[in-house]
């Protein structure tokens, strides 16, 4: 007879997923208090952290603040910088030799708040002459200018322009590990898991390790990466591949040092489209993380490395590229019995739009909020968790696919295949059909935990020059004057911010030196 309460949580695997989950659970479940659960993290001393995910969402600010991390200390320890969005270069059409074009997907849309008053239909009518990203958000311009999202006097975790982070994922895992073990009463065991032991009902009883014996628990979190030792191998939950929709299954990554210590740091991810994938360029404090993520069905590794080196230029000389295989898809179930998978063990789409770490936070938050202390309650929470995360991953896949499937690029089979209807999920096709005649509105995003919402879709659709023909419906948009006023307000805010904000590099250097004020 299994004991009726769940008191011991064992997280197998460290890394970003393991330690972030540990911190969120420990804080929300008040670990260390009388009667609280106990959390143990088993991390292999031998398996290196994959550490691809170097970009977060703004939710990370709330997460770190709520688990009691000092923002300045975190940034200094993890080579972190401020991320204000992404710039998509050469996605819209095939660039002529030497030509580039781009659009921004910024994290804040000042005054835009398309939920109250959608500027898109007015922009479509030409009320503003600027490109969509610059017309509706000051932040696109702030990114272009390389300015910071806040000032040194702005309180920690507060923002003048919404922001997330770029950081060194290996250092982040180490930082969170220290925080969890020193401040959040999380138990840490360094050992390799060799075998998973199950009860007769299938639930996990414990794991056998090489150097720490058998570790039992009541509830298990599988953070073992794409191996999915617990949920995949032991419980046999299958994998739903999405390689018919998303093709980028391989990445080549490089660490490119700055030429000088005062080199400007980009304050957004630069995602540049190429013949069989795209390159990311992420500015950390001391180096750039640059990589090419591509479809192995459309490109050889040699050709991919050539593309990456060409893209980086002279600075790539003498640097080595690290190859990473990506398993695109998600588990048929994320939670089964007393085991939940979080991180790459659960799902992975591809690095575009940095959804990986965000979905770790989302999963850990839901697990913490809904954690069943009674074994009898497991089934109900399992069902809810599986339903919501299947929906969230499907919606994330739709949004990622959007970046590809509305492109005019047809220069390679890769782009032709990406734009073929057969590769576009039905749910996305339906929406796109509607949006050809109506600008997206808030009712298109009515799920409470929608990972990507209206503003994000608008930035990508109209950044990609998606054609919404509203000529039949102009009478529905009579507020031209108000739109004009809002566009002018945005221009004024942009000018004001330009005067006030320091450069990104200047602020980062100061944050590392002085930290950020608590209030």
């Amino acid at each position: 007879m299994l004991k009726p309460t769940l008191d011991d949580i064992v997280i197998v695997g460290g890394g970003t997923a393991g330690w972030l989950t540990a911190a969120i659970l420990a804080k929300k479940l008040n670990v260390g208090a009388a009667g609280s659960v106990q959390i143990t993290v088993i991390e292999s001393p031998d398996i290196p952290i994959i550490g691809v995910g170097e970009g977060t969402w703004p939710t990370m600010r709330t997460t770190l603040q709520s688990v009691g991390v000092d923002e300045g200390e975190f940034m200094r320890e993890c080579d972190a910088t401020f991320k204000q969005g992404a710039e998509f270069v050469n996605w819209q059409h095939t660039p002529a030799a030497g030509e580039t074009h781009s659009y921004f997907h910024p994290l804040s849309a000042v005054f835009h708040s398309s939920y109250d008053f959608n500027l898109a239909p007015y922009w479509l009518q030409g009320v503003s002459e600027l490109p969509y990203d610059l017309a509706v958000a000051s932040q696109s311009r702030i990114c272009q200018l390389g300015l910071a999202p806040k000032k040194i006097t702005t309180a920690a975790y507060s923002a003048l322009q919404n922001y997330a982070y770029h950081f060194n994922a290996v250092k982040f895992a180490a930082f969170m590990k220290k925080h969890c073990t020193e401040k959040l009463a999380v138990r840490f065991i360094a050992a390799n898991v060799q075998q998973v032991r199950q009860h007769s009902c299938g639930a996990i009883a414990g794991v056998l390790t090489d150097s720490a014996g058998e570790i039992n628990g009541d509830f298990f979190v599988d953070c073992t990466g794409s191996k999915a030792l617990l949920l995949g191998e032991a419980l046999g939950v299958g994998w739903h591949s999405i390689n018919d929709v998303i093709f980028n299954d391989t990445a080549l990554a490089m660490q490119v040092p700055y030429p000088t210590a005062d080199w400007p740091i980009a304050t957004h991810t630069i995602a540049t489209a190429h013949e069989a994938g795209w390159t990311w360029d992420i500015g950390l404090h001391n180096r750039r993380g640059v990589g090419y993520v591509y479809s192995s069905a459309h490109s050889s590794d040699e050709r991919a490395e050539q593309i990456l080196r060409q893209h980086i230029g002279d600075q790539a000389e003498g640097l080595e590229a690290r190859k990473i295989k990506l398993n695109l898809g998600y588990r048929q179930k994320f939670w089964q019995h007393n085991c939940v998978a979080i991180g790459m063990s659960a799902a992975f789409i591809e690095p575009l739009e940095a959804s990986a770490i965000f979905l770790i936070e989302a999963a850990a938050n839901m697990l913490a909020e809904q954690f069943p202390r009674s074994r009898a309650a497991l089934g109900f929470v399992e069902q809810k968790f599986n339903d919501t995360f299947k929906l969230r991953w499907d919606k994330s896949i739709d949004f990622i696919k959007l970046h590809y499937c509305i492109s005019q690029r047809r220069d390679t089979a890769y782009w032709v295949d990406n734009c073929a209807d057969s590769s576009i999920p039905e749910s996305l096709q339906q929406r796109l059909a509607h949006w050809r005649l109506h600008p997206p509105g808030k009712y298109d995003f009515d799920y409470a935990f929608e990972p990507f919402v209206l503003d994000s879709y608008l930035f990508v659709l109209y950044g990609m020059k998606f054609n919404t023909d509203i000529r039949h419906n102009l009478s529905s948009y009579p507020d031209k004057q108000r739109a004009q006023q809002l566009f002018a307000d945005i221009d004024r805010t942009t000018a004001l911010l330009q005067q006030q904000l320091p450069t990104h590099r200047e602020l980062i250097d100061k944050v590392y030196r002085y930290g950020l004020p608590k209030v």
Partner: protein, 231 residues
């Protein structure tokens, strides 16, 4: 222009310091740095506020002397008007700095942009390559102030840890002009102070912070008097 340079017995051997009893260098200062060791004396004539240093974002304790940048209501042509004169004002143009954050020693520096520092009038600073008694005495006062600023930073850190600092906005309506808000000031959160646990309260007592905290709170009574100086 302010230009802070370390005093050097060779380079500055012919320099003198004169004194300005009117403290005219403060004529455009709306805030002046204050050390926690001065709070009790300052509280009877000046509001004590906390502001963030615009270059470092770090909190500093200050006496509020004006209601907008560039305005010192505690200074007139006849000189300094408030009963208390902050140490930093009295020590000017001298100040003591630590060469490194961890160092125990101070170096004495001077604002060479000040007319008080000159070769014509005042008290000599050096004689036969050594600091004069006058310089020694002024240097001691500057070190005293620097030490006080160090204690103030520790005091502020304890206030922050207990979440006792809160933003204060002052809405001002000058006669015949548009109302405006003086922002960027922080004060002590009285409500939060009342909610501290016994343990937290005792930690304040152990650090001898209670007197300083209450001095800050009582100094708020000087705000309306400062506003009245506008007339």
């Amino acid at each position: 222009m302010t230009n802070i340079v370390a005093l050097d017995s060779q380079q500055h051997q012919h320099y003198k310091l004169s004194e300005d009893k009117l403290f005219s260098h403060t004529r455009t200062a709306h805030i002046l740095p204050l050390a926690v060791t001065e709070f009790v004396a300052a509280a009877v004539s000046l509001p004590i506020v906390f502001v963030k240093d615009s270059t470092t974002g770090q909190f500093r304790a200050c006496a509020l002397t004006g209601l907008q940048p560039g305005q010192n209501l505690c200074w007139q042509e006849s000189g300094w008007q408030a009963a208390y004169i902050p140490l930093a004002v009295r020590n000017y143009p001298l100040l003591a700095l630590k060469p490194e954050a961890q160092s125990d020693d101070y170096i004495i520096a001077v604002d060479t942009g000040s007319e008080l520092f000159n070769q014509q009038s005042g008290q000599a600073l050096f004689a036969a390559d050594k600091g004069t008694d006058y310089l020694q005495q002024r240097a001691r006062s500057a070190i005293n102030q620097a030490h006080g600023i160090g204690l103030t930073q520790q005091f502020i850190n304890r206030l922050l840890a207990l979440e006792l600092l809160v933003a204060r906005t002052l809405t001002l309506t000058p006669k015949g002009a548009e109302p405006y808000e003086l922002t960027g000031m922080y004060g002590i959160d009285e409500q939060r102070l009342a909610q501290l646990t016994a343990e937290q309260w005792l930690s304040l007592r152990a650090n001898n912070d209670l007197l300083a905290i209450h001095a800050v709170l009582m100094s708020m009574a000087q705000l309306p008097l400062l506003v009245a100086r506008l007339a």
